[in-house]
Symmetry: C2
Subunit: 129 residues, 2 copies
């Protein structure tokens, strides 16, 4: 059980932090490989999943292609571009105000543990194209 402090895990966590913008596992992998050329993709996946389970990262439900990871762990919402798949934070806390876990639980009988609010749109770059 005792989690070890390995180079790989440190670099992966750090890259997830530095990349910032909701990288896919593959993007993390490529970034990590610049510092640890021999790292394997399996290790990246294993470590990212571990971080998520530890609550030190979250995965963004993007629905477009690959899974995306987020170093932020507070509730906030995202906007995903339907053309290029880029994901950005929408930091306005406003949008979570209308969301009430107790109401949702009452409405469906589930025990609610969280929620995701994702906007779909076209990013500025794709609007021009």
């Amino acid at each position: 059980m005792a989690s070890r402090n390995t180079v790989q895990q440190r670099v992966i966590a750090q890259q997830l932090m530095e990349l910032g913008n909701h990288p896919t596992a593959d993007e993390v992998y490529r970034a990590v490989r610049r510092q640890l050329p021999s790292v394997s993709k399996a290790t990246v996946y294993r470590t990212l999943n571990k971080l998520v389970h530890l609550g030190e990262a979250t995965c963004v439900i993007a629905g477009l292609g690959a899974e995306r990871f987020d170093h932020r762990t507070d509730e906030h919402c995202h906007v995903v571009c339907m053309k290029c798949g880029t994901v950005q934070d929408v930091s306005e806390g406003v949008f979570n105000d209308g969301v009430d876990h107790a109401d949702a639980a009452a409405a469906c009988g589930y025990e609610i543990v969280g929620h995701d609010l994702v906007f779909e749109g076209i990013c500025p770059a794709c609007q021009r194209a």
Copy 2:
């Protein structure tokens, strides 16, 4: 361009309707095969994607395993069970009241075309287990 009216497409659309509860592509495939034993999975995928593009269906961002399709096209939110992956509607319109596309657009610069609100929870059946 002219969309043809084929048996396959009619049966697939109808099954998506009848299954109702957010089936995966595979579930639709199995249901369709009961009426059209020779249907191919590729056709199911192609047709479901077509329905989504035509705006006659939506795909639910579930984030757990396979993609799920929904015959409803009005904005409503879902709750997904973190254990078994079941998806249900949460019909209470309440939860969409706090969501304003114009505000979101202003906050991130995207052109907003829609949103998904997904609750994560544990369904009644899994709570007992």
